[in-house]
Amino acid sequence: MKAFQYLRPSKVQDAIRAVGSDPGARFIAGGTNLIDLMKRGIVSPDKLVDINHLPLKKISYQSGRLKIGALALNSEVAAHPAVLQKQPLLAQALHSGASGQLRNMATMGGNALQRTRCPYFYDTAFPCNKRKPGSGCAAVEGINRMHSIFGVEKANATQSCIAVHPSDMSVALAALDAEVIIQGQGGERRIAFTDLHRLPGNQPELDTTLERNELITGFEIPDNDFGMHAHYLKVRDRASFAFAIVSVAAALDVKEGKINAARLAMGGVAHKPWRLFEAERHLLGKPVSEALFRQAAALGMRDAVSFGQNDYKLRMAPNAVVQALLHAAAIE
């Protein structure tokens, strides 16, 4: 690990200024991903700006919105009464992620901003457009059973990136129409959570739409009528402490036997949490049935591609969508 300077500012603006003014500076919160990346030589910051002491840990519910500070710990959020009552889907997703020890360290902002676990991103002996722009993508012809099926053009894949975003929490936040509150040097802005992460395109080195001098300060989730009709299904190699092969966040609002609102997002399938907007629209106004769920899942798969070892995801993904919807609808 390269020697680095360590700062611990007490004000949000001081932290933002410290990172904004130095291209070699990085924020550090729980450090559960950044420290690994530093040890492996993937990133080598000159300066770490520790934000753990900033007052951004609060979890509250006010006027129809659940507000969660960016530094609230994953474990605190997953166990918080307001989260369990208002947005149980988020609690489920958080619980399925990482391990108890990691959830006690990892923050909400850090979870959203964690990097992909693609083995070629981590192994500096291989080309990787995300780590070293323009070097190529070893995963396209390599070990890619964990990789993307959405959001990447097959013909352009070696110039782009087929890695997936590893966060479970982010899949739930994408499904729940969460907003991200971002503080910059000029002030605050808000974006939809679905606009936080990018598709790889020709700049796979950029995971998000954040600017260098911006800091996520919190997330807000508006009320919904999904109640307990929400389910996070995670398919993985081990029952615990494993990243999703495919995951689905499903939420349904059923009134008088018909679907009034639906949300579907997937993890482990794209460079960002993947919302299935077309599948959601297909469900609207129709009575709940497994056949309907199968139609919606098939619609959601229309643009899917695969790269050999992850061909199985083309079947697993729609099956997982159906399974998650059945759970959400309490049919199964």
Partner: protein, 226 residues
């Protein structure tokens, strides 16, 4: 396993409680730290090694490679044949330019702290002439052969096992044919691979090591160091 067969491990409670002292956790004054640089190819030859930056990095005491490694008394270079070692030959560390496996140690950086050694190790640049490796068991199964030493041995556990009437399957009325594969198994020790060696006099070396057979390890070390 019955109660009768069950034995308590002497180190069980300490390991479970996290209080066991791992090899790397013993503390000594003036302890130097070493970090390995490992090959990024599976087969080929080292064509060049750039170690100057690492040698000049803060806190670095030495950088060892096959180009400057001192002779191992019990394993002198002079008696070893030149060229790529034959299949079945014991692996010799920092011996020559040949790469036999992915992750093969190619350099060792010794520094005042582990962090300084690790940083210096990241500055070493190795270039290789890559040869085609064959590591896919399935694709290479038709080349499979029983090694000569197993064929020679009367009691090798790796020999084909036969009893009863092995030809019976040919006449059998009902046959079930299937391919059985074994998933990847990872050997995962509780503690990281780390060794501390302390000279306690000209003829006494104490080694704190993570291993499974300590007396065998002691004999190997003694033989290498004469």
């Amino acid at each position: 396993m019955t109660d009768k067969e069950s034995l308590d491990r002497v180190d069980g409670p300490e390991k479970v409680a996290g209080t066991a002292t791992y090899s790397a956790e013993y503390r000594f004054k003036n302890l130097a730290h070493a970090v390995l640089v490992t090959s990024t190819i599976a087969k080929g030859e080292i064509t060049s090694m750039e170690t100057r930056k690492a040698e000049r990095a803060p806190g670095v005491l030495t950088v060892l490679t096959h180009l400057n490694a001192p002779e191992i008394p019990g394993n002198p270079k002079a008696v070893q044949p030149a060229g790529r070692a034959a299949v079945g030959t014991a692996f010799r560390l920092f011996h020559d330019r040949y790469i036999y496996f992915d992750g093969q140690p190619v350099a060792l950086v010794v520094a005042e702290t582990a962090e300084k050694a690790k940083y210096a190790a990241s500055l070493i640049q190795v270039t290789y002439q890559t040869e085609k490796h064959a590591t896919d068991f399935e694709a290479n199964s038709r080349h499979a052969a029983l090694p000569v030493n197993i064929q020679r041995s009367q009691n090798s556990p790796f020999k084909d096992y036969e009893r009863g009437n092995p030809g019976a399957v040919v006449q059998a009325e009902v046959k079930i044919e299937a391919t059985y594969t074994i998933p990847t198994q990872h050997h995962q020790p509780l503690e990281p691979h780390a060794t501390i060696a302390v000279w306690e006099g000209d003829d006494k070396l104490t080694v704190y090591d993570k291993n499974q057979v300590s007396n065998l390890h002691r004999e190997t070390s003694r033989r290498h160091l004469n």
